[in-house]
């Protein structure tokens, strides 16, 4: 039975379910306990599971993420919440040098059941230091898996899968998605964590996107349909690995590729998508792949400039029209 709930609620239920199912699951982060999480994701869990399972930390991202690594080495399944991805820059050593490397460097001796959850993206006038996605920085790290849920259903599925995985998983959430709503059916069986989903079927153009840009892209696709352009929207759901198969199958049908991403263009995640698909099926394409991405600037505080910094529905429509020669 599906119900309409907020994205944060889906994450909250996933944590609750896994904390209940396995005593080795713990949650660590700033204000995750008594306060219930900056975005309510951990609400009620402190009261239910106590401070050893749901731990409020000081502002020490480097060390509490590293503590997650250590705890994972000793058999716990930590879910570390970093308040926003901007602060994760202080935890890159733990994520990149420790979590992603220890299983390999040890010759395969250790599981690393660590989940690092964090929201990223442009919200509302939070300025340059608080408006980053940085996904491409993590994509280049072998040993990590990156899930990017765009809906409450995926948030529920992918967080639970991440907690059950013995590999380190980064769950990239989005500040503007927490208060978005969608159906959640807790009984539905989950697809594999990295399987892409076709959010809208279409014949003329394949639009590959993820996270909050899924919604923007779907709105553009609706409008494009009215103009006679039939767009297939693929939600990648995972940025490492990427489900090439599903994208290639779509391109064999549409022969046109448009990538929509929130982060800036240069050396962004979209570059990997374009390169990966060109390697696999360049000759299927009728036109060069195109990217709609953020401007090459730190995000300005000013509201108008901020809004114009990242792709809007109109930008996606124009790019799709150009690609289809309209």
């Amino acid at each position: 039975m599906a119900e309409e709930i907020f994205y944060w609620q889906a994450l909250n239920r996933a944590l609750d379910a896994e904390l209940a199912a396995d005593e080795s699951v713990i949650v660590l982060g700033e204000d995750v306990g008594l306060y219930g999480g900056s975005y309510r994701v951990t609400e009620g869990l402190y009261a239910k599971y106590g401070e050893w399972r749901v731990r409020d930390t000081p502002i020490s991202e480097g060390s509490f993420t590293g503590i997650g690594v250590g705890a994972a080495l000793a058999g716990l399944r930590p879910v570390v919440e970093i308040m926003t991805i901007n602060f994760a820059l202080l935890a890159f050593d733990a994520i990149v040098n420790m979590a992603a490397k220890i299983p390999f460097m040890s010759g395969g001796q250790f599981p690393m059941p660590l989940v690092v959850r964090m929201p990223g993206g442009v919200a509302k006038q939070l300025a340059a230091q608080h408006s980053q996605r940085l996904e491409q920085m993590l994509m280049n790290v072998p040993g990590l898996r990156i899930a990017v849920p765009a809906t409450p259903q995926d948030a529920w599925w992918q967080l639970r899968q991440a907690i059950r995985s013995d590999e380190p998983v980064v769950l990239l959430e989005h500040e503007l998605l927490y208060f978005s709503k969608g159906p959640l059916d807790m009984a539905l069986e989950a697809p594999p964590m990295h399987r892409a989903q076709i959010r809208r079927a279409g014949k003329q153009l394949t639009l590959v996107t993820w996270s909050r840009m899924v919604e923007i892209s779907l709105r553009a696709a609706e409008k494009l349909a009215g103009k006679g352009i039939d767009v297939e929207v693929i939600d990648l759901r995972s940025l490492r690995p990427i489900d090439w198969e599903r994208c290639v199958a779509s391109l064999k049908k549409t022969h046109r590729l448009l990538i929509v991403e929130e982060d800036s263009h240069f050396a962004g995640a979209g570059a990997e998508v374009a390169a990966g698909l060109a390697e696999r099926c360049l000759y299927e394409l009728d036109a060069p792949p195109q990217r709609v991405a953020a401007r090459e600037t730190p995000i300005p505080y000013n509201a108008t400039l901020e809004a114009e910094s990242i792709p809007r529905v109109g930008d996606v429509i124009r790019a799709a029209e150009r690609l289809c020669g309209v």
């Binding site: 900056s38 502002i59 020490s60 503007l176 208060f179 600037t297 505080y301 000013n302």
Partner: protein
């Protein structure tokens, strides 16, 4: 202390309070967005410290820095315009509330990643020390920031190389929602300086005169080439952590969302009414800092009730003018953004 200086500090504090309360109002009306971290309750720290500093000293602050900027002399209109995201703002609308900068006044920025002020201040102090100048880098930070690695790393280097930094902790006992006893093993921040043999002191941060005297003393020591000092100011913030603090807009948002299907963030922002503490709560931390200074001035007979009223009016007008300036200032455009991004290119054409 001379009467003039006392009056200046009272005026600073009145302006600070009025400015911040007006900012809250403008936020509720939708003229300011984003995170807005306000300072009411903590004025004695910024005023006491910065009125003891020289114009040649550097100030490095956090995201809760409007008042530091005002006391430093950045015109209120430029600060307000920055909160409005306008071109007339001190960061030209690019930085916003958390990123006020004014190079001329050596206001070296508001930093929004907790713990950034330590290395920046220490680096500035390195540049001062190497050139043997009589200047000091004044580094503000909260009680929550001392658990960041940069605190320990920077204190060590500042002490090791005897750098002229004054570390000023604004201890308001909270790291957003986490009370100090739940985030720190040692809750008396000044004691942490001992680990690096940095002279340190705890003062009543609600008493502007005590803060001021302690700062003068510390700055004198630092200027004498004796290395860094740390001042812990015990204070209290009357408002919530920030206006858009997601934690403060919980249940009503959902209810309203169902009713109106409006943008939940907009609802949330409009609904953020942070209650003020009652007088009893304020008394428990030693009373309102402004009341205390006023009482002192009254006792010393340096300020008549009429003069106080005149001062209040002048401050109110100044805030009104700041808002007018902010409203009338134009929006920045992409040309401004590009100029900001490429300000160091010196006309070089890349590729």
């Amino acid at each position: 202390m001379e009467a003039d200086r006392l009056k200046t500090m009272l005026r600073d504090m009145l302006l600070a309070r009025a400015f911040e309360e007006r900012a809250a109002q403008e936020y509720a009306e939708g003229n300011i967005a984003g995170f807005l971290h306000l300072y009411p309750g903590e004025e004695a720290v910024a005023v006491g410290v910065l009125r003891a500093a020289e114009p040649s000293d550097y100030v490095i602050s956090t995201y809760r820095e409007h008042v530091h900027a005002l006391v430093r002399g950045i015109p209120p209109g430029e600060v307000m315009a920055e909160l409005f995201g306008k071109r007339g703002g001190c960061s030209k609308g690019m930085g916003g509330s958390m990123h006020l900068f004014d190079r001329e006044r050596r206001f070296m920025g508001g930093y929004a990643i907790v713990g950034e002020t330590f290395p920046v201040a220490t680096g500035i102090a390195y540049a001062i020390a190497m050139r043997d100048l009589p200047e000091v880098a004044i580094c503000f930070f909260g009680d929550g920031a001392v658990n960041q690695g940069t605190f320990h790393e920077s204190l060590n280097m500042a002490a090791l190389w005897k750098l002229p930094v004054l570390f000023v902790c604004e201890n308001n006992r909270y790291q957003i929602g986490t009370e100090i006893h739940r985030h720190s093993a040692v809750t008396e921040v000044y004691k942490r300086a001992c680990a690096y043999q940095i002279p340190s002191k705890k003062v009543d941060g609600m008493d502007v005169l005590e803060v001021h005297a302690a700062t003068l003393e510390a700055l004198e020591q630092i200027r004498g080439g004796n290395g860094p000092q740390l001042l812990e100011c015990e204070t209290y913030r009357f408002r919530g952590h920030s206006m858009a603090d997601p934690g403060s807009y919980r249940p009503q948002v959902e209810v309203k969302w169902f009713e109106t299907n409006e943008d939940p963030l907009k609802i949330a922002i409009a609904e953020t009414v942070t209650p003020y503490p009652d007088e009893e709560q304020i008394a428990a931390v030693g009373g309102d800092n402004i009341q205390r200074l006023r009482g002192h001035l009254h006792q010393e007979e340096v300020l008549t009730p009429d003069e106080l009223e005149t001062m209040r009016k002048a401050v109110a007008e100044e805030v009104e003018a700041a808002v007018r300036f902010a409203k009338e200032s134009p929006e920045p455009d992409w040309e401004d953004a590009r100029n900001a991004l490429e300000c160091n290119r010196q006309g070089e054409v890349l590729i």
